[in-house]
Amino acid sequence: MAQDFQAIPGARFMDPAVLARIGNLELVARAVVDGFINGLHKAPYFGASVDFAEHRGYVPGDDIRRMDWRLWARTDRYYIKEYEAESNMNFSVLLDCSKSMDYGSRGITKFDYARILTACLTNLVHHQRDRVGFVAFDTDVVEHVPPSAKHMETVLHVLDRLKPGRPGSLKGPLHKLAEHFGRRGVLVVISDFYDEPDAVLDAVSPLRFRGNDLIVFHIMDPTELEFGFNDAQPFEDLESGEQMPVVPEAFREEYRSLVKAHIDALAQSFSAVRVDYSMLNTTQPLDHALYRYLGGRAKMMKSR
């Protein structure tokens, strides 16, 4: 079925703003991911999680269905075949749907970009037969789809009707979720991380405590990075509603340096705790994010 969408080769290189206009998340995700997979034709990572791991001696209580009968025939001993235990892992995307994500200056909002990214990742993971889950949060958990191999459709459906609307907070919902994800898996956090780096790290770190692999995507609009305003105007905070007069010409350089320092601090903090951190701006093709994900996954596999 994936072959049906090969008619859109290179969709993964498309401008996210163009993809956002398609509207059908599933179609977008398939187009992007299938093209991506075809591009990785002989990728060494594909199927890695279903590889055989080792044999061990049978102990009473083991499921006899996992007995290696061929080895018993040769050796007359009972061995149990053990495969890579997490090869069918849990994969969950934790998406920040706070009001600040509802901002876009180049035809696509950060939230839409994050939704497409979520859909693509979910689709990609689903292809690997992993279980996909989804959590949306702002100051609290808004939507929760438990990881399951059958939840791909559900996740896309939830994503499709999700609207950002309330102020956001990382610490509360993420701490709550950290307790929820008891089984090891891969957690992807997508947010704009408008908080102090220490606070962000404090909020995100607990997700790793139970052995979850954590990938962080930091979504930013180009305007947030460049502050390309010209006229002096009052600025209003999307979440708090606070207004203040701003003379961009006077603020620009200082703003840029502050944002850069913030990003650098986040990257350094996450690196220190072995969290894969990627900063994406909404003009970057999704292909880039997928590579980041799979690259991060490979490193984790190697380090394991």
């Binding site: 600040s100 006229d231 600025f235 209003e236 979440e239 203040m244 003379v247 006077a250 502050l258 913030h262």
Partner: protein
């Protein structure tokens, strides 16, 4: 550069408006929704940055536009430095002090002299001043000196005269003085009560270039009572062969306060003869008639006098009358006095005619001597009589010739205005009519107005052909164009010839209404008769020739103030009457003397003021000249300069244009 309305510069504070607009305009734009102000909040807010001017061009254009508009409202004018700069250089000051009799009203004179002293007190050592007292004329009292002591001494002795106010002569005198001055600053100060009656338009009184005029008005409250005798009516009558005179005085109250319980008196020969009560409404007039008085002698002097009030100069009115003298004439006819002519001459009081009839051969020298006019009524004149009459005319006598069918005149005596020719018979067919009258002549002047006598209705059935002499004037013609009345001056006398008869032989003229006035006017004209004036006004002149020059005695004029003014035998016989009262002109042996009553100009008692600016504007040029001055360089007032220059208009247009540029520039910038 100066400004008529500098208070508008307060509006320069409005120049801050564009600056504020520049600084606040951008914050009024649409609110920018931003994901988080986390980083913006950290940037220290520097209010000084908000005051940064972004578009200097726009700011400059707006400021310039506002500044130009404010400048326009401040009404700028360029002060041409025609004269020396104010405050620099010595001054030539001409003080024109009004001493007309109206300055005697209340304390006007005291205030005027005080103002004059102030002007002199301001003089510096290098300044020079001239004092001119003016009324109907201008009299330079002190010329171009800085001696303040002398000025004060002159002011101490000066007092209001009896003449009326006339500004023009004084301005002309001031103009001649400042024109001759070499000092850099020239000023004329007019101190007056500025009566409207004293100014009759521009009158050609222009001051030279660079002269400034400073009017100082001493006009005060005119609520004090002021009555004036503005005229008299003198009616003669005869009673018991004595001529009597009824005096009626007209009194005017020019103030807004009624006068009641006052008195008016009539004096003759210096003695009061009658006293009447007087009540006059505010702004009204009243007439008071006195009982008749007998004109007892020649040069009978009288005065009507009011009680004292705020202005005394107009409270008395003088007159002089003499018993009326008849016009004596001799009628030369054929022995029977003509009925129509004698009847016509017997009618009339002013003057009366005293006629005697003589035959042509009975006219004596005595007759000619006593007669002012000789009437030749259709007679045959001998050569001897003609010569005597010619001599009579040469000496000033008047001759009236009625050229009837029998009239002759010797050709060798050239005194008639026309040669008497053959008779013309108009009994058949239409009678001749008189037309083409010379209405400008004194004889026919009363008939000028419509329905004042119709000569064309008089049928003339016969007349003599008249051939006018070279220097004769045809006063009337018959309808065919033939001369009807011709006049000629001969020596000091006049001769007038009528081409028909004065009876009904040849015309119906004696039976027509125009006959009597025609005869009266002709005789008065030939006798050179004029009504004696009972009074004249200050400023007029006295013709001393009315009193003949004596053989040895010098003629003298006695003024009301008692001065004796000898009249030079050579030169002008004219004396200016500058005082109110009675002037006496005495000839030889005091027997032949002549009295003139002089009164003040009653118009001067009207204190209605004029705006001094009107005089100043007229004297300095008014409203012409585009560069702030008259073509002849006379400086204008600041208002007039500003009005002429109209700088405000150009500034306003420039400001509006700049606002247009501002709109264009700002629109273009908004698009980019």
């Amino acid at each position: 550069m100066s400004f008529l309305a500098p208070l508008f510069f307060v509006a320069l504070a409005g120049l801050a408006i564009p600056v504020l607009l520049h600084l606040t305009q951008r914050e009024k734009k649409q609110i920018v929704h931003f994901p988080s102000l986390m980083f913006v909040r950290r940037i220290p807010y520097q209010s000084v940055r908000r005051r940064k001017i972004h578009n200097w061009l726009l700011l400059f254009v707006r400021l310039a536009a506002l500044a130009l508009i404010i400048l326009a409202f401040a009404r700028p004018l360029i002060q041409h430095d025609d004269a020396a700069p104010i405050g620099a250089g010595s001054r030539e000051v001409v003080v024109l002090l009004d001493n007309s009799y109206s300055m005697g009203f209340g304390d006007h004179w005291q205030r005027a002299t005080a103002a004059a002293r102030d002007q002199f007190a301001k003089l510096s050592a290098s300044d020079r001043a001239t004092l001119v007292l003016f009324s109907s004329g201008a009299d330079i009292q002190m010329r171009s000196t800085s001696d303040k002591t002398r000025f004060n001494a002159v002011l101490d002795t000066a007092k209001p005269g009896d003449a009326a106010t006339r500004y023009s002569p004084a301005l002309k005198v001031a103009g001649s003085i400042v024109a001759e001055s070499t000092l850099p600053r020239r000023e004329v100060v007019i101190i007056s009560d500025f009566q409207r009656g004293g100014w009759r338009g521009e009158e050609g009184a222009r001051l030279p270039q660079g002269v400034t005029i400073t009017p100082i008005s001493v006009q005060g409250a005119a609520d004090r009572p002021n009555l004036s005798v503005t005229g008299l009516s003198l009616a003669r009558s005869t009673f018991s062969s004595q001529e009597r005179l009824t005096v009626t005085a007209v009194v005017t109250n020019r103030t807004e306060r009624s006068v009641s319980g006052s008195n008016i008196a009539l004096e003759t020969a210096g003695l009061p003869v009658s006293n009447k009560p007087l009540n006059v409404e505010p702004g009204g007039s009243a007439s008071v008639s006195f009982d008749p008085v007998t004109i007892s002698s020649k040069n009978f002097k009288g005065t009507v006098r009011l009680a004292d009030d705020a202005l005394n100069a107009d409270n008395s009115f003088n007159f002089v009358v003499s018993p009326s003298e008849p016009v004596r004439l001799t009628i030369v006819d054929r022995g029977s006095a003509d009925l129509y002519l004698t009847r016509a001459l017997s009618i009339g009081e002013a003057p009366r005619f005293d006629a005697v009839a003589r035959q042509a051969d009975a006219v004596s020298d005595e007759d000619l001597k006593r007669s002012a006019v000789v009437v030749l009524n259709d007679v045959d004149v001998s050569a001897g009589l003609a010569r005597r009459l010619a001599k009579y005319v040469e000496q000033g006598g008047g001759l009236f010739v009625a050229a009837g069918p029998r009239a002759t005149w010797p050709k060798d005596v050239d005194v008639l205005p026309a040669e008497i020719g053959n008779p013309v018979d108009r009994t058949r067919g239409d009678a001749a009519r008189i037309g083409a009258l010379e209405y400008g002549h004194p004889v026919f002047e009363p008939f000028r107005a419509p329905r004042s006598g119709d000569f064309s209705a008089v049928p003339v059935y016969g007349y003599r052909t008249l051939t006018p002499a070279k220097n004769a004037q045809v006063l009337a013609r018959f309808d065919a164009g033939a001369p009807a009345v011709v006049e000629r001056r001969s020596g000091n006398g006049r001769v007038l010839i009528w081409g028909s008869t004065l009876d009904v032989t040849w015309s119906d003229l004696p039976q027509r209404p125009v006959f009597l006035p025609f005869v009266h006017r002709a005789i008065r004209h030939l006798a050179n008769y004029s009504e004696p004036q009972p009074w004249v006004t200050v400023g007029q002149v006295l013709d001393a020739s009315v009193v003949p020059r004596g053989a040895s005695t010098q003629r003298v004029v006695l003024t009301p103030s008692g001065r004796r003014l000898p009249i030079e035998d050579e030169g002008s016989d004219v004396v200016e009457l500058s005082e109110k009262g009675f002037y006496e002109l005495r000839g030889d042996n005091n027997q032949n003397h002549f009295v003139v009553a002089v009164n003040v100009d009653p118009a001067e008692a009207d204190l209605t003021p004029i705006d001094p600016k009107e005089i100043v504007a007229a004297a300095t040029g008014g409203s012409t000249g585009g560069d702030g001055s008259q073509p002849n360089g006379i400086p204008l007032t600041a208002e007039a300069r500003e009005k002429n220059q109209r700088l405000w208009w150009y500034l306003l247009v420039a400001g509006i244009l700049l606002l247009g540029v501002d709109t264009l520039v700002s629109n273009r910038m908004a698009k980019t």
